[in-house]
């Protein structure tokens, strides 16, 4: 069967250490993440002829000035404008460009340098509707927006704080095996339940820690990939959807259900054929909604799924095997790449102590918080070529 992204391979992945503070500029973080991914692939910057970059802190610079800064003559550029959905969207755009012969080697990277104050400041002026009809009203930032979704989810489906806690504790266990993760100590249920209140029902460990870091992958044409030593991956399918469903913030707070059937049809597999999921974990409730939207469990049952399924790297269906943003850290827009990095690293068999047995997995993104929800959802299915 000919695939959508015929002639395109994922050939490498790289990640910077995640840090609470760092003097590094976004350019330096993008460079470091990109260099790590190229080195993983056995390629160098001299072979790169395309860039897909996402970074909230990049303006007034942009992907073209990043190309200039790094000295890349580029035949393909993409700048992600969809927050945490951008990593996967950038990967798909880059793959199409390679498939269509526009370029041969694309570094897909995301990085940011954030702390809590600069994160709030950014969100306060994120877009027109937030700036005029949520922030002056006292929305409490992204925490407030997702507290509303969390409470509604709990009320609709009978999920409890303990259910979200189980999810966060499992991700922390995964993070402890990831040398780049910010959090280095286990999370207990008592820690989770009694943490500082942020925006009820959310407490501290439901919220990501804004930090500094970057993630990247490298895509290459099959022609280039053939010259490389390492394993390579295929993108079986990749989908994005925005503002779905239109004019309806609360019936389904995420677009995955809008494309899941098409994603699996195009990928030629079913959710039960996946060996892991790397979901966008800005808040545990959104992970539940992604697991449901991507058909990994039924609607309204993710809280039962995390009760009956071990989602750690030792479990039957590992989720966010590097700890995700909740336990590795949220480096701004890199939050949309951390799962892609992790998925690629796992499929290539380079995940070290946290390696899971896998050949095929799903990665998923979410971003662009606007009037009450994130507008952009994305997901892809990746598979190792044996």
């Amino acid at each position: 069967m000919s695939s959508l992204f015929e002639g395109v391979r994922v050939v490498g992945a790289g990640q910077t250490v995640y840090a609470k503070r760092s003097p590094h500029t976004v350019q330096k973080l993008l460079y470091d993440a990109g260099s790590a991914a190229l080195s993983d692939a056995g390629l160098g910057w001299g072979q790169v002829d395309g860039l897909a970059v996402t970074s909230f802190a990049l303006p007034p610079d942009n992907v073209a000035t990043v190309a200039e800064h790094l000295g890349i003559e580029a035949r393909f550029l993409f700048q992600g404008l969809y927050g945490g959905a951008s990593g996967i969207i950038g990967m798909a755009h880059a793959a199409r460009a390679i498939r269509d012969g526009a370029c041969d080697v694309v570094v897909v990277a995301a990085a940011d340098a954030f702390d809590v104050a600069s994160h709030n400041e950014m969100l306060d002026r994120f877009n027109g509707s937030v700036r005029e009809f949520m922030s002056p009203q006292g929305f409490g930032g992204a925490n407030g927006i997702f507290a509303l979704h969390t409470r509604l989810y709990m009320e609709r489906y009978g999920a409890t704080r303990e259910d979200f806690g189980r999810f966060c504790i499992a991700l922390r266990a995964n993070a402890l095996l990831n040398p780049n993760a910010l959090f280095k100590v286990p999370l207990t249920m008592a820690d989770y339940l009694n943490a500082k209140q942020i925006a009820d029902p959310l407490r501290l460990y439901d919220c990501v820690l804004p930090c500094v870091g970057g993630d990247a992958i490298v895509l290459a044409s099959e022609r280039v990939a053939r010259t490389l030593a390492g394993p390579t991956l295929r993108i079986l399918a990749s989908e994005e959807i925005h503002n779905f469903p239109a004019n309806d913030v609360y019936s389904v707070p995420g677009g995955w259900v809008g494309f899941a059937d098409r994603l699996y049809e195009r990928a030629g597999c079913r959710p039960s054929d996946l060996h892991f999921a790397q979901v966008y974990d800005d808040y545990p409730v959104m992970c539940f909604i992604q697991l449901e939207g991507l058909g990994i469990c039924q609607k309204g049952t993710a809280h039962q799924f995390v009760k009956s399924t071990d989602i750690t790297t030792k479990g039957v269906f590992p989720v966010n095997t590097g700890g995700g943003q909740l336990s590795a850290g949220q480096a701004g827009a890199a939050g949309g790449m951390i799962g892609v990095y992790e998925g690629v690293t796992q499929l290539m068999g380079r995940a070290g102590a946290r390696q899971v047995k896998c050949k095929r997995g799903a990665v998923s993104g979410y971003g662009m918080v606007a009037y009450g929800r994130g507008l952009s959802s994305s997901a892809a299915v990746l598979e190792r070529v044996d």
């Binding site: 709030n120 005029e132 009203q137 409490g140 409470r151 009320e155 942020i198 009820d200 004019n247 609360y250």
Partner: protein, 144 residues
């Protein structure tokens, strides 16, 4: 985040545009003004203010005074504010309110209980509070 030195920080103010001005002028008159699609085949109520109907893309939107009645879709008690201008009043209840006319409006629910009890589905009515110099802001009050 009760920082006593921060209580005098002004709250973030809306940047009023040509599109949104009738809403804010209405609020100053203690009226909750929203839009309605003038296309008879659609006729849906619209909020936040748009340049066209987001249901049918008709350019013809008219402003009208909403009933001010609604129900709480979901809510949170904000402990950790996003802006120092709100530190003096935290913890406070912030909610998504579904207006009787249909659209969702975000607002504080002053005097609502800040414990963990659910207010989902509770009926509310609009009120207006002073938000800054020359600026009134809609809030909702629990009816029960």
């Amino acid at each position: 985040m009760s920082n006593p030195t921060a209580t005098h920080v002004p709250k973030p103010q809306p940047r009023v545009t040509e599109v949104t001005r009738p809403f804010w002028e209405g609020a100053n008159e203690r009226e909750l003004m929203i839009q309605r699609c003038a296309d008879p085949a659609c006729g849906k109520a619209v909020f936040y203010p748009r340049v066209c109907c987001p249901f049918c893309q008709s350019p013809d939107l008219t402003w009208f005074k909403a009933s001010g009645m609604g129900r709480i879709i979901s809510h949170t008690t904000v402990f950790r504010t996003h802006h120092d201008g709100f530190n003096g009043e935290a913890p406070y209840v912030f909610a998504a309110v579904e207006l009787a006319e249909g659209p969702c409006v975000y607002a504080q629910i002053p005097e609502a209980p800040t414990d963990e009890r659910s207010l989902i589905g509770e009926p509310v009515a609009v009120d207006f509070i002073q938000h800054g110099p020359g600026r009134r802001m809609p809030v909702f009050r629990l009816l029960n």
